[in-house]
């Protein structure tokens, strides 16, 4: 049959829109700010063969892990397992790749009795019943990290599976909002079922499938053309994670080897540290996802994701390594390596794509958390969570951006001083740019920030800061950015430098100075 370019375009944009509508449904009906404000979620509409028809993300780092969940379910239980009206959940780190908080909810889509695809979403549930609330910075096995679910039906033939819901309820610390978030994901899946159903009702399976094939082919062709433009060869880059959060003296190495051959690219991640004791491990699908982010940033940043994306890319991961964790490795801080992996793919390809790449950025979340039993402002227990912004790498033609959220997060914003001080017993005495922290170069790396807190009550401080062993490197002779630096009571008698801390007691009047890293410079500085 012949398919009109008009129909293809209308179906292409309808699929993108369907994913947007799913994402909107999830974000607007979720119960916790992690999802509706932190946008810690992603949605995908998949075809019968688990290929992406449309995807929409809050975070940029879930490229490929949602389809792993439907595929795994089918591999395990056979293709007859799908029934109309069922909705499933899965949060197994070794399948989904990330920590147990990331729960993927997915539903098969039937049209006239035929399975035509899947609607899936992943969202961060605030607590899975781990040994510490919300997750631990010092877990050493996944069994300390909470409830782990393989493929599990939460809705059967349109009715909630109350046995399973009770089981979840019993295991997590905040059951009310957790089930609320789960139901938001069910609503999101139903929006996907509805939108894809409308499309099939309007055009029929044959036309939708023909359009799908054409859309995938367009994307694949475009990516192949862009890879073909890169000189063939082997490219390599190495970086180090500071430590695994348990043994603070041992850095963990990651080497990325990229091979470009014609229209094909291989990213080899096998040469990295074995899975660690601390919670820095991730499942293979997340390592693949991170490599895809690096690839996408260079090859096709503006193109919508679909089943044609990443076809020319092969990512190799070693089972039992930190990036291909096996049971019972702990995975709570799975994202520690992601920002670096993304930067390493880019660094490796720098000689081949000097104008597209950028020098490295400051790293990832740089988390500061205050918690206490009593907030004098409200008389209630409290817990805060802030991600700190930093400097990005320079590129050919421009300095890197200053004070920008990391590559792993997306639309996350810093907390205004007026909000922090109103809600929590801390005062922010300084929030400014960390001048000179960006690496020098023909184009300078962006600067990090300095944020200084004074405690107004005794409380517990937790920190998860990274990238001091290999701070943001420069490119083509540009210098590295300054590493991060966190100091408790700077200049005072109890001065102490630290980057990681798990519930460290701090006292009223103590000062905490947090300095995020700068980005790398690009090109040799003329001075």
């Amino acid at each position: 049959m012949t398919l009109s370019p008009v129909t293809t375009e209308i179906i292409r944009s309808a699929l993108i829109q369907a994913a947007e509508d799913m994402n909107m449904t999830l974000i607007r009906s979720a119960y916790t700010p992690t999802i509706y404000e932190g946008k810690d979620c992603a949605v995908a509409l998949l075809d019968r063969h688990h290929r992406v028809l449309g995807q929409s993300s809050g975070l940029p780092i879930f490229l490929g892990n949602l389809e792993e969940c439907t595929r795994h379910t089918e591999e395990r239980f056979g293709s007859d397992v799908w029934e109309p009206g069922d909705v499933w959940v899965l949060n197994d780190s070794y399948v989904g790749g990330t920590h147990l908080n990331d729960c993927t909810v997915y539903a098969p889509i039937f049209v006239s009795g035929e399975l035509v695809g899947f609607a899936a979403s992943r969202a961060h549930w605030i607590d899975m019943g781990s040994k510490d609330p919300g997750g631990s910075m010092d877990s050493t096995t996944i069994y300390q990290e909470g409830l782990r679910m393989g493929p599990t039906r939460i809705v059967v033939a349109g009715e909630e599976n109350s046995d399973v819901l009770r089981m979840i309820e019993t295991n997590v610390r905040f059951p009310y909002v957790t089930l609320g978030d789960m139901r938001a994901q069910v609503a999101c899946a139903r929006m996907g079922v509805r939108r894809l159903g409308e499309l099939f009702a309007r055009y029929g399976a044959v036309i939708v499938d023909a359009a799908r094939a054409k859309i995938f082919a367009q994307t694949e062709r475009l990516e192949r053309e862009r890879i073909a433009a890169i000189p063939d060869g082997e490219y390599e880059a190495t970086g180090w994670l500071d430590n695994d959060g348990i043994d603070l003296d041992t850095p963990l190495h990651v080497t990325v080897r990229v091979t470009v051959a014609g229209e094909h690219m291989t990213v080899d991640l096998t040469d990295c540290a074995d899975q660690a004791t601390g919670p820095v491990n991730c499942g293979r699908s997340q390592a693949i996802s991170a490599a895809r982010v690096g690839y996408k940033l260079l090859i096709s940043p503006a193109v919508s994701l679909n089943g044609g994306s990443f076809l020319p890319l092969d990512v190799q991961v070693r089972d039992g390594s930190m990036l291909g964790a096996r049971e019972p490795a702990s995975c709570q801080y799975y994202y520690s390596s992601l920002g670096m992996l993304i930067d390493l793919v880019i660094k490796a390809l720098a000689p081949a794509m000097p104008e597209q790449v950028a020098a490295a950025s400051y790293g990832d979340s740089m988390i500061v958390q205050f918690a206490g039993e009593l907030n004098p402002r409200t008389g209630q227990p409290f817990v805060t969570l802030e991600a700190t912004v930093g400097g990005w790498g320079a590129w050919h033609g421009s300095d890197g951006e200053t004070a920008l959220i990391n590559n792993v997060n997306g639309s996350l914003r810093d907390l205004p001083i007026e909000v922090v001080e109103t809600l929590y017993p801390v005062r922010v005495t300084h929030y400014g740019i960390r001048h000179g922290s960006g690496g020098a170069g023909r184009w300078r790396g962006g600067d990090g920030v300095v944020r200084e807190y004074v405690m107004e009550a005794d409380q517990d401080l937790s920190l998860w800061w990274e990238r001091s062993v290999t701070p943001a490197w420069g490119a083509f002779g540009g210098e590295a950015g300054a590493p991060p630096r966190v100091v408790l009571n700077p200049g005072g008698p109890g001065e102490r430098q630290l980057l990681k801390a798990n519930s460290l007691r701090v006292r009223r009047g103590d000062t905490l100075r947090c300095e995020s890293g700068g980005g790398g410079g690009y090109g040799v500085s003329p001075n």
Binding site: S4, P5, V6, T8, E9, I10, R12, S13, A14, Q17, E20, D21, M24, T25, R28, S29, Y31, T32, P33, E37, L59, P60, Y176, V177, G180, A184, R194, G197, E198, A201, Q218, R221, V293, K296, L297, P301, I346, Q356, T378, G379, V389, W395, S398, A403, G410, S411, L412, D414, P416, I417, E418, V419, E421, T422, R427, V428, Y431, G432, I433, V449
Partner: protein, 684 residues
């Protein structure tokens, strides 16, 4: 004779709608905008539509003066004065990114460079207690610098000024003392008395940046009227959809930033009341862009804050969603598929059919090929070049291996699908499906596409108002005076002090009363409403819960009652609620409406013109259909038509596809009824 006159000054055209105060008769006209001097343009436009100045009894307009200054970055030279320790906050700008995959991401360049930001000592804490007095010597040094370096304006934004404005006021007094009229001084707690220092600074800077040019512009207009010895109340549309007089707009110029396009939404509110349709989707399609906004329960969808050009604005704004899809949107091939927009042929060369040298096909060219525009009567008779349109579409059709007419239909279909998606995004965001709305179409190209867009989203009723090409101006004539007030008021359900709450509302009520009096609104025409911004603990965004006249915030049941109503609002907007969960009170909002006195508009006074309708082939669904082509002037109230038909008028063309029915109601609005789409029904 006295006229009430509204004027929407757009980039290319200025639309004028007037209403004769004695007879209620309305008329509309269109003249070219004079971008080099908008104030002169106002008077040229009045002359252009033959309205003698002495007959103007009430004048309202939407001005792009401030917005143009911002878009073209030729605003005032501003210096920022802020608190010690946070001079970089304006540059950090909360650190978020708007694109997920962009290695070369740069934030919007700030309007004020870091060198022009000065920190001064003085600090309050979060309870409003003074920790450190204002460093007045530092303020005097700032004044010295402003004078020496010739800054036009100073934006003062100090931490927690929304709780206690005394430091800002003191700094303002010193600056004014030292500088006199040399520089505009803008205080953050006066512009936006709300928390979040970056957003408040951004708002204050925008006011300082755009203020002086709006100021000069309004001065000129009033001078010109009074130069003729006329005392004409000059009003300006605000971004919130309400009117204010020029004197207020001069003092608070920022409120007029988005003053033009919101006229359409306010027209939508008036139409929703006239037709008793509470929920209306307003679509405004012109040459380069497509604006969607909503009327929900007869009220405009107004957000308490928003963003312009990437700069946050803590000020009520009508929620307008814009996509690059207009008559001038270019069609092109990419990877063997057809794409339409967002690139536009603009005014020059414009669509191929304008005959100004354009050769690439646009949406208007596609409509031209399909016979959906009348080449002789389009846009007041610009004589479209059908041959050029056909050649442009045929060229692309060849590249895509398609037939010319098939491609022309396809260009419209892709464009319509894109616009339908923009609408769906907005309604899904509100937790509603578009099928529950009526679609109100205006702008030159809106009524041409409305039926197809409606079918795409499952809407069955399309309304084309009078003067669709000048509808924003019509809407301004229908709008009322509005003044907004807010106050930060942080409390939790556990510690809410209702006596303090009542005192705060009394203050706001007093401010609103005073403001309406200042706008010349008589006591019996004032309507003052209150609302509370609330959220669940740990949320960031808030919902505004309106209070009713019957509410007594100090009554014993109030706390439980307001929490219940918050839960209901939450349920409505987000599809769920958590009754009993801890809530926070964040800000208080008071809106004063002043009902403008106006005579009811009269339509249908003029007898319908005797005019021949003709029948001509127009393409629908790929096939030619014999179609009735009729001028709107030949359709008096009560007329009915069955599609396919095309109704043309000076500034717009309404397309009625096969299967649709059209009737003309008592207001002389065109009401089109469409068949429901079965597959949307099935899932509804």
């Amino acid at each position: 004779m006295t006229y009430r006159v509204a004027m929407d000054i757009g980039g290319t055209f200025t639309d004028v709608v007037s209403c004769d105060e004695t007879s209620g008769r309305m008329s509309a006209g269109k003249v070219l905008t004079t971008p080099d001097d908008l104030a002169r343009g106002v008077f040229d436009a009045l002359a252009g539509v033959r309205l003698p100045l002495s007959d103007v009894g009430f004048f309202v307009h939407g001005t792009t003066q401030g917005l143009n200054a911002l878009l073209e970055r030729r605003g005032a030279n501003v210096l920022i004065m802020t608190s010690e320790g946070i001079g970089d906050v304006y540059r950090i700008a909360r650190g978020n990114r708007s694109r997920l995959f962009d290695l070369h991401y740069r934030k919007q360049a700030p309007l004020v460079p870091r060198d022009d930001i000065v920190e001064v000592g003085g600090r309050f804490d979060a309870s409003g207690a003074e920790l450190e007095p204002l460093d007045e010597d530092a303020v005097r040094l700032v004044a010295k610098r402003v004078r020496e370096e010739g800054f036009d304006a100073v934006a003062v934004c100090l931490l927690f000024a929304y709780l206690d404005g005394s430091h800002e006021q003191r700094a303002g007094r010193i600056l004014r003392e030292e500088l006199g009229d040399e520089a505009l001084v803008v205080l953050s707690h006066e512009v936006a008395p709300e928390w979040r220092e970056y957003e408040r600074t951004s708002t204050t800077v925008l006011e300082a940046y755009t203020g002086p040019s709006v100021h000069r512009y309004l001065d000129k207009i009033e001078d010109r009227f009074s130069g003729k010895g006329l005392d004409v109340p000059v009003h300006v549309m605000q971004s919130s959809g309400g009117l204010v007089n020029a004197d207020f707009a001069r003092r608070h110029p920022l409120q007029t930033l988005l003053s033009g396009p919101v006229g359409g939404t306010m027209g939508g509110v008036a139409v929703s009341r006239l037709l008793d349709r509470p929920n209306v989707i307003c679509i405004d399609m012109g040459g380069t862009s497509f604006d969607v906004s909503l009327v929900l329960d007869h009220r405009p969808d107004v957000s308490p804050d928003g963003e312009v050009e990437g700069f946050p604005l803590l000020m009520p704004l009508v929620n307008l969603h814009t996509v690059g899809a207009g008559g001038g949107s270019l069609a092109y091939a990419e990877g063997g598929a057809l794409r339409v927009g967002p690139e536009s042929a603009g005014a020059a060369p414009g669509p191929a059919c304008y005959g100004r040298g354009g050769t690439r096909p646009t949406v208007t060219d596609a409509n031209c090929v399909l016979g959906r525009v009348d080449p002789e009567s389009f846009a007041g008779g610009m004589n479209l070049d059908v041959t050029a349109a056909r050649a442009a579409v045929a060229g692309l059709a060849g590249d895509l291996g398609m037939d010319t007419v098939e491609l022309a239909s396809g260009i419209c279909d892709v464009g319509n699908a894109k616009m339908a998606q923009a609408i769906r995004t907005l309604t899904v965001e509100h937790g509603r499906e578009p099928g529950q709305f009526a679609l109100l179409a205006f702008g030159g190209a809106g009524p041409m596409h409305a039926a197809f867009i409606a079918q795409e989203i499952g809407v069955t009723e399309v309304v084309v108002p009078r003067f669709p090409g000048a509808f924003s101006a019509w809407g301004m004539l229908e709008a009322d005076v509005r003044r907004d007030f807010s106050m930060q008021f942080f409390a939790t359900n556990a510690d809410l002090d209702t006596t303090a709450l009542a005192t705060a509302f009394r203050t706001l009520h007093g401010q609103a009363t005073e403001a309406l009096a200042e706008q010349g609104i008589a006591v019996d025409r004032r309507r003052i409403g209150h609302g509370i911004d609330m959220r669940y603990e740990s949320q960031d965004y808030t919902l505004t819960v309106p209070l009713t006249d019957a509410d007594d915030v100090t009554a014993p049941g109030f706390l439980a009652d307001i929490q219940q109503r918050f839960a209901e609002e939450h349920e409505k907007r987000y599809g769920h609620a958590t009754p009993g969960a801890p809530v926070q009170f964040v800000a208080l909002r008071t809106t004063g409406h002043g009902l403008v006195e106006r005579v009811d508009a009269q339509y249908g006074a003029a007898a319908a013109e005797e005019s021949e309708s003709v029948v001509r082939d127009v393409v629908f669904d790929g096939a030619p259909w014999p179609t009735t082509i009729v001028p709107r002037t030949a359709l008096p109230a009560g007329s009915e038509l069955a599609g396919p038909a095309i109704v043309h008028e000076e500034t717009s063309t309404t397309v009625v596809p096969p299967g649709a029915r059209l009737r003309v109601d008592d207001n002389e609005f065109l009401i089109m009824t469409l068949a429901a789409r079965p597959e949307l029904e099935a899932h509804a």
